[in-house]
């Protein structure tokens, strides 16, 4: 069943065609990866989906609802959560508080309710805290809950960011280069966490250029080059695809 | 409107406009090398005027102005060395507050040194009533001094940035600080230099305009806001556009006297500032895409 449907999407920056006529779908429950060499338009495509960049033409629908033209917060409210390539945690807040912000769309206390500490917020706060601690547990960083998030190690920060993105119980999780800046051990750890997240029934779309991570965990891969989609298949097929090898890996042998 | 009145307004507009342009260029020079808006920019103009007035009591006018400019320049350098040089990547908010604090200090110091009184330099040639006939109207020679000096400042500055190696190093700094450092340019000294330059041109402008607008301890704030309006109007960081923007604002102000009471005059230019900020934050002449890359 199709969860995310990207159709004929185009994006130009001045004279540069960053994404041209890209279409693909993401089915519920799968891990899908978008790969491509630097400058292939991966991040732009990602930003088009998350609402950070407006598209020039084409449609993006989620759960059969059009979401292109939405602002990022509206996309988030539809049930799409994301992480950032260069981790963006909220400084001066603990790991737990960071994750609790992620619960924003699933709670409703506003200015008045907050100021007057209305009774319905008591239960809500308790529920938020409980749920977020559970998530920290799931990502194996429960003991770091009260540590200031930005003082954690890079890998731990990544895990906090995952927890924060999961706190809204999204249908789709967008991961922007989750292995960026991590060493091979941390990358393996992240791969394990991503699989664990999928086992919770969450669909994952990731942009990545670490081949090992992508080949290991994804069910399907989309390959971009110069803004065009040149292949879409299973990891095994992609590894055999001549065009992909040519464009993405150059003439070298496939090492991964 | 008679053609004589029209020309009167036009000259008044150009006079004030050139001063705004100089203040705006002062903003731009510092902004380009540091990314900081120096809220104390208007105070340099006030200092130039006040110092030259005091010095003129015992020195001939040209010497008094020269020394006033040099002292202000040193003050500019000191401000940078004491308050800014040693801060490592301070946040914008922090820099805003620090430069506001500096402007308060300079203003309050001026208040205690010179009092609340309004002062002015004498006219450079002749006096209040002497005039020169240009086109079909009479213009005070001081107006020509202001326009002339501002024009010379602009020309010299652009020559300095284009042809001297120091000027080129400063430009290198503003386009890419890290790359400039890697090329062996001492970027910290360039920042000090930019403060000195801004202070100097501000002070010089403060001297030539003093006979017309008078100088008071708090005359810097108004100039700073207008100078900033002009800097934004021309596109922050773009000094040449600031000249046209300055003249434009000066002329708009001069002609609005007919329509708006004098008391609301300042409100006019600030409204223009707000409108520009809301509608075209990249300035009248700037490009939106380039502005998107800058950090405000």
């Amino acid at each position: 069943m199709t969860l995310l449907d990207v159709k004929n999407v185009n994006k130009r920056f001045g004279g540069l065609q960053a994404v041209s006529d890209v279409s693909f779908t993401v089915d519920r429950g799968m891990i899908k990866a978008v790969i491509g060499p630097n400058g292939a338009g991966k991040t732009t495509l990602f930003n088009l989906i998350s609402g950070n960049t407006p598209l020039n033409s084409g449609t993006i629908s989620f759960n059969n609802k059009k979401i292109h033209g939405f602002k990022p917060y509206q996309v988030a409210q539809c049930g799409i959560s994301r992480t950032f390539q260069n981790i963006k945690l909220f400084h001066d807040m603990t790991a737990l508080e960071n994750v609790m912000v992620g619960r924003h769309t699933k709670s409703r206390a506003g200015f008045m309710a907050g100021m007057f500490h209305l009774p319905f917020t008591w239960g809500e706060e308790k529920e938020i805290r409980h749920k977020c601690l559970e998530l920290l547990e799931l990502l194996e960083i429960r003991e770091l809950a009260d540590v200031e998030a930005t003082s954690l190690s890079f890998g731990q920060q990544r895990a906090v960011e995952f927890a924060r993105a999961l706190a809204s119980e999204p249908d789709l999780l967008l991961l922007d280069e989750p292995a960026a800046g991590l060493n091979i051990y941390e990358t393996a750890e992240i791969a394990r966490l991503i699989s664990k997240i999928r086992s919770q029934g969450i669909t994952v779309l990731l942009v990545e250029h670490d081949m090992s991570l992508v080949m290991d965990i994804s069910d399907e891969i989309v390959v971009l080059s110069f803004g065009r989609k040149i292949a879409e298949d299973t990891p095994r097929e992609i590894q055999q695809n001549k065009e992909v090898i040519q464009i993405y890996l150059g003439d070298d042998d496939v090492e991964n | 409107m008679t053609s004589e009145l029209f020309l009167q307004y036009l000259f008044a507009g150009i006079t004030y406009g050139s001063i705004y342009a100089i203040v705006a260029i002062g903003f731009n020079i510092i902004y380009n090398t540091t990314g900081i808006i120096n809220f104390a920019q208007g105070e340099f103009v006030m200092l130039g005027g006040m110092l030259s007035i005091s010095l003129h009591t015992f020195l001939p006018l040209p010497l008094a102005i020269a020394i006033a400019v040099i002292i202000t320049m040193i003050i500019g350098a000191l401000i940078e060395i004491i308050f800014i040089r040693w801060l490592e990547s301070p946040s914008v908010l922090r820099m805003i507050i620090i430069t506001i604090g500096i402007s308060i200090l300079i203003r309050e110091a001026a208040l205690h040194v010179w009092g609340e009184g309004v002062r002015s330099l004498p006219y450079f040639n002749g006096n209040e009533i002497s005039s020169i006939r240009i086109l079909s109207t009479n213009v005070s020679p001081q107006v020509l001094w202001v326009i002339g000096v501002c024009a010379v400042i602009v020309v010299l500055l652009s020559l300095f940035f284009k042809f001297t190696s120091l000027g080129q190093e400063m430009r290198a700094c503003s386009s890419n600080r890290l790359a400039a450092t890697l090329c062996g340019i001492n970027t910290k000294n360039m920042v000090t230099l930019s403060f000195m330059l801004s202070a100097a041109i501000g002070a010089l402008a403060g001297c030539v305009v003093s006979p017309i607008t008078y100088t008071q301890y708090d005359s810097g704030t108004g100039l700073a806001i207008k100078g900033f309006t002009v800097a934004v109007l021309g596109g922050l960081g773009n000094s040449m556009a600031a000249v046209s923007a300055g003249l434009l604002l000066g002329i708009i102000e001069a002609f609005s006297i007919d329509i708006v009471p004098l008391a609301f005059q300042d409100a006019i230019s600030i409204s223009i500032l707000l409108i520009i900020l809301f509608v075209r934050p990249h300035g009248l002449f700037g490009s939106k895409e380039a502005a998107g890359l800058k950090e405000f």
Partner: protein
């Protein structure tokens, strides 16, 4: 957990009452006047603390909101409507019929008719909220220097308007503002005999406002605001409508400022243009910075101490200069505020074993 939360507030109330008691036994009750004014200024400053420290947006125009509140209330409660009534102005008749006008008499025995302070207060708050809302929509899209200059520009416009507009009393401001009777027996005014009562009125308002803000910053909204401060892009991606949250915060703090302006105007019996001046706005910002930006308690303490000292005239003619110096020193050496110097943080890190 529940009762624990209120212990600090209870202690604060105790300290405020203790201070009053202290002035009584030391026979220094003339301090109460400045203490009352300090409480109102602190109200402006804790509101601004929410905008600056939590939502991370600078405002150099908060004196403008204070002035809008104070002046609106002052104009409405001093503008003599008697001639309009005599002429049979239907709107004035309507107001009079609803009991929204008050009769009075001035020193020369002329009869006065003005809007009741309650109505004036509500209108002033609504007007301020409306202006803050309309100004906030475009202004809060700006960042950094542009935001600072735009809010400062707004402040200067308000200052120029009150200075140039005849109805605002121009350079003299407005005087002879009547007292504000909150309920029978409780009146905000500058009467000598009313001093203790007024001190408690001011403290109660400040305390209630402080508790409301404390509640807010520890709620879902407070978390979202701090998130905006931390990373606007990430907050957006978490589904926080950042533009709306910033706007509401701005309006809320403007209303606090206006409330302070209204009460202080009734207390002083007048308001002058200096209240709208840019130096006032800068001072508010300075105190928030000294208090540690994102620290309500620090801001409250600093606001009380510095305003009181300043109102007592301790800094003499160097009043503004003192704030300038403090501002620079704090920003250079302790940008997190003096109550949050690194010692405490190191201790915390030590405890968590980092």
């Amino acid at each position: 957990m529940k009762t624990q939360r209120f212990i600090p507030f209870f202690l604060l109330a105790l300290v405020l009452a203790g201070l009053q008691f202290l002035t009584q036994i030391t026979d220094t009750s003339y301090y109460l006047t400045q203490m009352t004014m300090t409480a109102y200024y602190s109200l402006v400053i804790i509101g601004l603390c929410l905008v600056m420290g939590y939502a991370g947006q600078i405002s150099l125009g908060h004196a403008g909101f204070f002035a809008i509140g104070g002046y609106t209330s002052a104009v409405l409660t001093t503008y003599n409507l008697i001639h309009l009534l005599e002429k049979g102005n239907s709107f004035v008749l309507f107001l009079a019929g609803k009991g929204l006008l008050v009769n009075g008499e001035n020193l020369y025995g002329e009869s006065l008719l003005y809007v009741t302070p309650w109505l004036a207060c509500i209108l002033a708050l609504v007007l301020t909220a409306l202006i803050a809302f309309l100004i906030g929509i475009p202004v809060l899209k700006l960042k950094g220097h542009y935001l600072a200059m735009a809010t400062m520009g707004f402040g200067i416009i308000i200052y120029r308007v009150v200075l140039a507009w005849e109805i605002m009393g121009e350079a003299d401001g407005i005087s002879d503002v009547p007292g504000f009777t909150l309920m029978p027996g409780i009146t905000v005014n500058g009467d000598f005999s009313n001093r203790i009562q007024n001190y408690y009125i001011a403290c109660t308002i400040l305390l209630v406002a402080f508790i409301l803000l404390q509640n807010l910053i520890h709620s879902r909204v407070g978390r979202a605001l701090r998130a905006i401060h931390g990373s606007e892009e990430a907050a957006d991606a978490m589904g926080v409508n950042t533009a709306r949250y910033k706007l509401y915060t701005f309006v809320l703090s403007a209303v606090f400022a206006a409330l302070a302006g209204i009460f202080l105007t009734h207390y002083n019996g007048g308001i002058g243009p200096s209240e709208a001046g840019i130096m006032k706005s800068v001072r508010y910002v300075a105190i928030v910075a000294i208090g540690g930006m994102a620290s309500m308690w620090g801001t409250l303490i600093m606001a009380s101490v510095l305003n009181f000292l300043s109102l007592r005239g301790l800094f003499g003619s160097y009043d503004d200069a003192v704030f300038g110096v403090i501002l620079i020193i704090i920003m250079l050496f302790a940008p997190d505020g003096i109550l949050r110097l690194h010692i405490w943080q190191r201790f915390k890190k030590f405890k968590t074993g980092k």
